[in-house]
């Protein structure tokens, strides 16, 4: 009865969610934790069901906050009323944020309508919750409690609709391209048949091809699906033809976001009264305003060039004085250049770095060879190509951070500045940092200090200036990058654009001749983008050879002096070998076929059953009998002795030490062989040591072999379905395991960043601690991202909702037989020891 009722409400829910929902902001506002000012205040906006809306505005204005609000992710945790006003009430949530007003999804408060909204975010990697493609898409459906028989049909249909029909459901997500991952995230969102689809910068982290794939997929699914869509994207261009409405946010006098423009794309982008530049908005090329935008960039760059040449030989102070305080924009343009003009004496156009028949790759695989190129002082070289083509490998090899596979990288005498070694790879970290600087894509990988000021000082100390001068220069540098007000702030607390500027400032602090930037404009709004472009130009003009890895076409257009294309096509400057379609043989769940067929939960249970009884008696007989029985049993299921030794050898190395400890310090009795201080070797201690040694083996060997090779997803399913442990914790833990691979890559980047910043020569312990801490911070940041991704798939949305299971974990008769055998082995062993009279609880008193 109750189950049919359940299904009825279930199907009603599903029917309901086919329909697009309308969104209503009623005087809504949010204040982030630890801030005194609201990001958004008194927002009133109505979005009718089925409308497609683009939300624009500069970075940090609160677009993502609005999305989180709609998705019901803000203020939903036992929030309590902090202040009751006449019209509105302020609610403080567990996150420490304050919410005012309300957002309604179809007249239902957003926090109770979480199943109606699906959110897709910027970072493809962060949205992959589980290991396999199909499981990721099904995750949201499970959280909604959709019955299993419906799940896989829906998953396959949605994967087809986003153009991923060829992808095997068992494919591991870690081997996919960014575009594919992002489409899986889209499928995961669509699968839930949401009334509202929220796309938060879905293409910002993708190369042009990946972005195109995602945009096409969205276009395609919107053709035959009725849903309300909200998109945040800095570049409106490619979304224009599906948009009904554009809303632009700007700052009010209080600093909170307010709606500046609202209307159809044609109306908004043709409105001459809107200052798109100051709002950080890119206008699509079909509107006239965009042309003036482009002209302005060109003009600004041009103006800067003129100014640069005028003052080329001048000293800092003169330039500062000649401009005066009133013309701040002109000052901003010139300032970054000044420092470098003073110290560089290298002629522009001098070759600083060149490669001779270079071959690059990771580990032992060569991805490209016969590379010959030159990098000249004062020039900007762009490395472009698809994601994963090998641009980063090339740039890191050039930066002396990766080993080349063949050929040479030669630094010119001007770059070597007195070192005889010409291969950057062989320089010490300190030598490297004052010659070639590398700015990583993720700024957080390279932070090493607690304050912004110290961060810059690291580089200045490397150029061995004295303290006070370094301090003075550090402040000057921060001022030039507009970061001086944050001098004492923790670098991690800056905004995205500020972090990026800080990393460039920190890299320049050690006055390198070559600056390499990895994706410097990734996901930046127009104002920050422009700032970075100016910065790169002025750095190059001061005589630095700049190498930028990017697929940002606008950046290439305005900055490139030379372009190197890395790719597989004929037009590419550097040919890379095509990465073979990875063939994934199904992973073996055990060294033995028999064990692989046992339910994972039972394998764990078996490991315990086989070991725990042995702990009662400490005697060589019970341990020895059990060990022999275990080895025979393993032999019968195809795990022979050599295989056993291969899997458990560390235990064989460790066990003798335990033996020794018991021989020397064990309970004594019988004949004394040696008594010296605490050491007391007796007949009994030797007997007990022998027993301990055998028991260590009898416990360790089966428990290692029984568990070895279990797939984590299968195990989580089994634990949830067999042991009935709470799903939230089981699948939360499972999602954590996916970070193993991600953190591994982070670790490599963090270490290379240390080398590039001149800190790679530290002693090992200090380096380990500093990298370890950076990794820990990184992992916590990633996990908060992961939890948002999970919540966006209705994870933990409704505690009363029973989660369904897409995968069945079966318990068969053979699993019970297996458990009984596991228990029988130690029981037989104990019985034998009792019969022989050697049984002794805990080895006796």
């Amino acid at each position: 009865m109750s189950s049919t009722q359940n299904q009825d409400t279930m199907s009603e829910k599903n029917r309901n969610s086919h329909n697009p929902a309308d969104i209503d902001f009623m005087d809504w506002g949010y204040c982030r934790p630890l801030r005194t000012k609201f990001v958004i205040q008194h927002l009133n906006l109505h979005i009718p069901a089925g409308q497609h809306v683009l939300l624009l505005g500069e970075s940090g204005i609160g677009k993502s906050t609005i999305f989180a609000g709609i998705a019901g992710l803000l203020g939903n945790d036992e929030s309590f009323i902090k202040e009751e006003g006449a019209t509105t009430s302020l609610r403080e949530d567990q996150e420490g944020g304050l919410t005012e007003g309300q957002i309604y999804i179809d007249h239902c408060p957003a926090s109770q309508a979480r199943h109606r909204c699906a959110l897709m975010m910027q970072d493809p990697e962060a949205q992959m919750v589980l290991q396999r493609v199909g499981d990721n898409v099904a995750f949201g459906l499970e959280n909604l409690g959709v019955p299993r028989n419906e799940i896989w049909g829906r998953v396959q249909r949605t994967l087809n609709s986003v153009g991923l029909e060829d992808l095997d459901l068992h494919h591991a997500t870690s081997h996919l391209s960014g575009g594919q991952m992002q489409r899986i995230a889209l499928a995961g969102a669509l699968c839930m048949e949401p009334g509202v689809l929220l796309l938060d910068e879905p293409t910002a982290n993708l190369d042009p091809q990946g972005a195109q794939e995602v945009i096409q997929a969205v276009h395609h699914v919107l053709r035959d699906r009725q849903t309300t869509v909200m998109i945040v994207e800095h570049r409106a261009e490619q979304w224009l033809d599906i948009l009904d409405r554009v809303v632009i946010l700007g700052r009010s006098e209080t600093g909170a976001a307010q709606i500046i423009a609202d209307g159809t794309p044609d109306n908004v982008f043709s409105d001459p009264s809107i200052d798109f530049d100051s709002l950080g908005v890119w206008v699509p090329s079909k509107y006239p305003v965009s042309h003036t935008q482009h002209q302005r960039i060109a003009k600004q760059l041009d103006l800067k060039k003129q100014v640069d040449s005028l003052h080329h030989q001048d000293d800092i102070v003169d330039v500062m004085n000649s401009i005066g305080d009133d013309d701040s924009s002109a000052q901003k343009l010139i300032l970054p250049k000044v420092k470098f003009a003073k110290q560089k004496s290298i002629q522009k156009g001098t070759v600083l770095l060149q490669t001779n028949d270079l071959a690059i790759g990771h580990g032992k695989t060569i991805i490209a060879q016969h590379i010959n190129c030159q990098f000249k002082s004062g020039e900007i070289t762009i490395l472009q190509g698809k994601n994963g083509a090998g641009k980063s490998t090339l740039s890191m090899t050039l930066a002396g951070l990766l080993h080349q596979q063949g050929g040479q990288i030669v630094a010119s005498p001007e770059l070597c500045k007195g070192i005889t070694e010409t291969d950057p790879q062989k320089w010490t970290s300190k030598q490297l940092s004052s010659r070639i600087a590398f700015v990583f894509q993720n700024p957080e990988h390279q932070f090493v200090k607690n304050t912004v000021l110290e961060e810059v000082m690291v580089g200045l100390f490397n150029t061995s200036e004295d303290d006070s001068k370094a301090m003075y220069n550090a402040h000057a540098l921060l001022q030039r990058f507009g970061l001086d007000q944050y001098a004492d702030a923790n670098p991690y607390t800056l905004s995205g654009g500020e972090k990026r500027r800080l990393t460039v400032a920190a890299a320049l602090a050690s006055a390198p001749e070559v600056l390499i930037l990895d994706e410097p404009t990734f996901g930046q709004d127009r104002s920050t983008w422009l700032e970075i472009v100016m910065l790169i130009r002025s750095v190059a003009d001061s005589g630095v050879a700049v190498i930028a890895v990017t697929h940002d076409q606008d950046l290439i257009e305005v900055l490139a002096d030379n372009i190197i294309t890395v790719g597989t096509t004929d037009t590419a400057t550097i040919q890379v070998t095509t990465e073979k379609e990875r063939q994934e043989p199904p992973k073996q769940a055990s060294v033995s076929q028999v064990l692989a067929g046992i339910n994972p939960a039972f394998r764990f249970l078996g490991a315990f059953l086989i070991s725990i009884p042995l702990l009662f008696s400490l005697d060589p007989v019970s341990a020895g009998v059990s060990l022999i029985l275990v080895l025979i049993a393993f032999g019968l299921i195809g795990i022979h002795l050599p295989k056993v030794v291969k899997s458990v050898w560390p235990v064989l190395l460790m066990a003798p030490w335990t033996f020794l400890a018991v021989v020397l310090y064990g309970k004594h009795g019988g004949h004394t062989y040696l008594h010296w201080g605490m050491i007391h070797i007796t007949t009994r201690s030797i007997w007990l040591a022998f027993a301990t040694f055998l028991r260590v083996l009898a416990i360790s060997i089966p428990s290692i072999l029984l568990i070895l090779g279990i797939d984590s997803t299968d195990l989580a399913d089994a634990i949830s379905q067999v042991f009935h442990l709470p799903d939230r914790f089981v699948y939360g833990g499972l999602a954590g395991t996916r970070l193993f691979t991600v953190l591994h890559d982070d670790w490599n980047d963090i270490q290379q960043a240390r080398r590039s910043r001149g800190l790679g020569d530290q002693n090992k312990v200090a380096r380990f601690l500093s990298c370890g801490f950076a990794l820990l911070v990184m992992s916590i940041r990633r996990s908060t991202g992961l939890s948002t991704a999970m919540e966006a798939r209705a994870f933990g949305a409704d505690p009363s909702q029973q989660r369904s299971h897409a995968r069945i974990s079966r318990v068969r008769a053979r699993d019970w037989v297996f458990a009984v055998i596991c228990l029988l082995i130690p029981v037989i062993a104990l019985v034998v020891s009792i019969l022989l009279g050697t049984f002794s609880l805990g080895g006796g008193r």
Binding site: E78, P650, S700, S703, M790, G843
Partner: protein
Amino acid sequence: MLSLFLCYIQIVTIVRYKKKRYHRYLRWRPVDIAVASVIGVASSIIFWAADFLPFDGLQALIPGLGGLLNGLWLFAGPLAAIIIRKPGAAFYTEFLAAFFETFMGDFWGGVKTLLPGIIQGLGAEIAFCLFFYYVWNIWTTLFSGALSGVFCWLYSFLTDLQAIKLTGPYGLAYLYFTILSGTIVAGLFVWIVYKKIAMTGALDRFESGRQIRDKQSL
């Protein structure tokens, strides 16, 4: 004597916190679960790396000295507890870290990693539980680390070191060294690391992070 003292402290703190009408959230949010899990993952890597240390050698040659290293396998619980501040955080994370360690292929054998994980996690958890999850300061953290050490010691003598007298000189030396290591590595060091992480703003979604950052901005 000790238990009376503990009772006294317990009552005093509870009265104090009740008076302040301190708001205590006990239900886990998804972000709590995610962060605990990831601390578990990160810790398991360190646990695993620590397996390479010459623990058994030290253990055998100089009585109890191996105990000095034990803290390296104890810190996950107190660290997660002090960050997340939810009932069960210490236990869940310590257990999970041990669980992941078995998954990476450890030296001891599945059961012999999981079992101490469970026992040490319980130890770390009890410290906060005794104060009804009201008190999250350096003292409870140190206490948690130390208690976790005691449980770790107890575990050793219930299994591999059954043959050695618990209260003999070796047993006591091992106890002292383990408590010392637990208090320093899983207590003091954890507290420092927690404060440093909080200062980066990574914990702004947690009461624990905002506490530190509030002070910072003052």
